[in-house]
Amino acid sequence: MTMDTTATGVSVRGLVRSYGTRRALAGIDLDLGPGVTGLLGRNGAGKTTLLRCLATDLEATGGEVRVLGRDPEQAADRTEIRRRMGYLPQSPSFYPHFTVFGLLDYVAVLKELGGRRERHDEVRRAMRRVDLYDRRHSRVRRLSGGMRQRLGLASALLGDPELLLLDEPTIGLDPEQRIRFRDLVSELAARSTVVLSTHQIEDVAALCRRVLCLDAGRVVFDGTPDELVSRARGRVWEQGSRPAEGVTSWRLADGRYRVLVPEGTENPDSTAGVPVEPSLEDAYLLFTGAGRKTR
């Protein structure tokens, strides 16, 4: 197995990360290039750990990682990766006494963004991109959850990073902001590698050319959203009666039930329902093990 040392993407071979005796990542192999890659998985599947390893915030316990062609275990390489990367952690904790401008200026200094004038120009640009320019003088503590999320996004966008790692970036955003976010990420993906960890399936459907589904620290699906959907064909049913115990189902608005049948099993109530075209969400639920869990 050869490592892809491309200078614009990410290569991972046999990545393992353990917390004590628990393995959060249990041997992950992947190569990521320009474009948006969606990272799907249940809570605890390993998405955040994978992103933190790629963001050099967390050391791998085993395996090899190359980010932008560099080895995060080497101090100099790690610094270089951080210079060229934007990272939005899952729960960014921003200093509440900073103003919006002050916080982004602080991050911009740490991202080594040129002289004061250039840096401030870049900060203003980032604020405009996430629609926070009008709140530039507001203290962070005065911002709503959605605004803080946009602030985190702005901090990740500073300096036009070659690699953008976004951990649940659309939590708390209103529909209008989410559309704006998609537009922004789509624009960035034209020249950068974007990895998006989310539970918002619509965002993945709208943005990602590639989807990785993680379950128990392993990649259980790696392909396009269409491929993911096609793998779910024949496993999504709608029926009038409540399905038998052991399959994932939920009641729809019209009183019917939507039923997900995991791979390798048959719908026990197949006579009562009809197979329907799966959505990406159905496929996600099937491949992240949701169906198996309730079995």
Binding site: R52, A55, T56, D57, T79, R82, R83, M85, Y87, P89, P92, S93, F94, Y95, P96, H97, F98, G102, D105, Y106, V107, V109, L110, K111, E112, G114, S155
Partner: protein, 502 residues
């Protein structure tokens, strides 16, 4: 861009944010300017006084900077982790420390410069070039302590405790009720004092002491910084190497402190050549009197001579050599560790205030005491009531005709009080001031030996001066209106007289 330049930019960023933080804006200006508005500048400032002032101001700056630095320290410890930025959390903490100590240094320097601008005349005495840097390092304790406590607690708890304890301490020490916490308060005070003044003796002109003071302060600052750096970024556990460095620094500080306390106890004395840039302290002679100032106090000879000259000049020429020298004794400094001032010397200290009459009075009275042969030892007080030489001495002490009558009476009273004069003695001394100077000097010239003999009473003096007997009704009363004392006070202390002066 290199990591170094990022560090520099971040340090400037931190500096700007510290200066513009509301806490700094509200607390530092009063700390900087209050001393200028409230403290009274001495007319003749000294190096020791200047050093004490600087230490006090550096402590004020340290207190303010503790509060100011706690906020960005929280930012670094609790709110900047996990962003995976090129500059490591330790480097960011170091940058904040650098910005905070730079700001503390600038604020302390402003205080020092402000003092130097306000001084009316050059500062007397000697200051080692290491003394002021040592003081500036004292101001670093505040910001570095803020970093260390915040890093280890990851909370505002140290700041809250500090902000509550300072007013509580001030209230406690300024009230008289409830002294149950005295032991604890005293221990805390002692501990705080030993940090700010690690040596029992502070003579800022002695190079060895100033270097030691600077060294101990620098070591303590390094200890605070390394203790902050010893905590891991995630707040759990310690970095073994940095923790070991901290422990080593603590041991070095303890050993150095103990050794320094042994080498320089509170009663340590230093020779002049241990003062910065000084090899000797030559005396200079004015009108037959040797003036022996400590190094740096040469300009004070004029003040001493202005006080002493008229006293000596009023005495008969043949007895003037009795005042050999004006000898400045300065705390821990001696011209030679094996020499004492000449026997007939007026001893002056490191303090002189041109606006306070008692500075001048001390020299005039001591000179008069020497001339008339009264005992100089204040440890064994005696009474010269009923001796003519007491009135002669009072007249000599107040012989400067440039003084107002009130000031002359004040000087005379100072001598009279020292030797337990009775109300007749006060009356005679005050009456002598009203006589023509030539008349008194002529009598003294002719009858000096008799009049300064302990066995000669005031009656012989009044007879020679054609004055009525001091106890008689014709003799004018003492000028109690201008006197420092009232007649009742004088009567009260003569009820329990000291032994007679021999």
């Amino acid at each position: 861009m290199s990591t170094g330049s990022t560090f520099g930019r971040l340090t400037l960023f931190n500096l700007r944010h510290l200066v513009t933080s509301p806490v700094f804006f509200l607390t530092m200006p009063p700390a900087l300017f209050a001393p200028a508005l409230t403290s009274q500048m001495l007319t003749l400032p000294t190096a020791s006084g200047f050093h004490r002032y600087c230490v006090y101001q550096a402590m004020c700056v340290a207190v303010v900077m503790f509060v100011v630095t706690s906020f960005p320290a929280i930012r670094e410890v609790r709110h900047s982790a996990g962003l995976a930025l090129p500059l490591s959390p330790r480097a960011r903490l170091l940058s904040l420390a650098l910005a905070a100590v730079a700001l503390a240094s600038v604020c302390t320097a402003i205080q020092i410069v402000g003092y130097l601008v306000r001084v009316p005349v050059p500062i007397a005495g000697v200051l080692s070039p290491y003394a002021v840097p040592g003081v500036i390092v004292t101001s670093w304790f505040g910001p570095l302590a803020a970093l260390t406590t915040v890093v280890w607690t990851r909370s505002f708890a140290p700041l809250i405790a500090f902000v509550l304890l300072i007013p509580a301490y001030l209230v406690y020490t300024s009230t008289t009720v409830g002294r149950r916490a005295d032991v604890i308060v005293n221990r805390v005070e002692t501990a705080a004092r030993s940090v700010v003044e690690p040596l029992p003796v502070t003579t800022p002109g002695v190079t060895a002491l100033a270097v030691l003071y600077l060294l101990l302060n620098a070591l303590l600052a390094a200890l605070l910084l390394s203790a902050a750096m010893a905590r891991r970024d995630d707040g759990r556990g310690v970095r073994p190497v940095t923790a070991a460095v901290s422990a080593l620094l603590a041991v070095v500080i303890a050993v150095t402190g103990v050794q320094a306390n042994r080498a320089f106890p509170f009663d340590a004395e230093f020779s002049v050549d241990q003062l910065h840039g000084t090899e000797s302290a030559p005396c200079r002679t004015r009108d037959g009197v040797a003036y022996c100032p400590l190094p740096g106090y040469e300009s004070w000879v004029e003040y001493w001579h202005a006080a002493l000259g008229p006293v000596v000049a009023a005495a008969p020429e043949r007895v003037r050599p009795r005042v050999l020298a004006v000898w400045q004794a300065g705390g821990h400094i001696r011209r030679s560790l094996h020499s004492d001032p000449p026997e007939y010397s007026v001893i002056v200290t490191e303090y002189w205030d041109t606006e306070m009459e008692f500075s001048r009075e001390g020299v005039s009275v001591d000179a008069a005491v020497l001339l008339v042969g009264l005992p100089r030892d204040r440890e064994e007080p005696c009474s010269a009531a009923g001796q003519a030489r007491l009135a002669v001495g009072a007249w000599l002490a107040s012989a400067d005709e440039g003084l107002s009558r009130r000031d002359r009476i004040s000087v005379a009273d100072s001598l009279l009080t020292r030797f337990d004069a009775d109300s007749d003695g006060f009356a005679l001394a005050h009456a002598l001031m009203d006589l023509p100077r030539e008349r008194v000097t002529a009598v003294l010239e002719e009858h000096w030996d008799t009049l300064t003999d302990p066995g000669t009473g005031p009656g012989e003096l009044t007879e020679l001066l054609d004055l009525p007997d001091p106890g008689s009704a014709e003799f004018p009363e003492a000028d109690w209106q201008r006197s420092v004392w009232s007649e009742e006070e004088v009567l009260s202390w003569t009820e329990f007289p000291f032994p007679d002066c021999g």
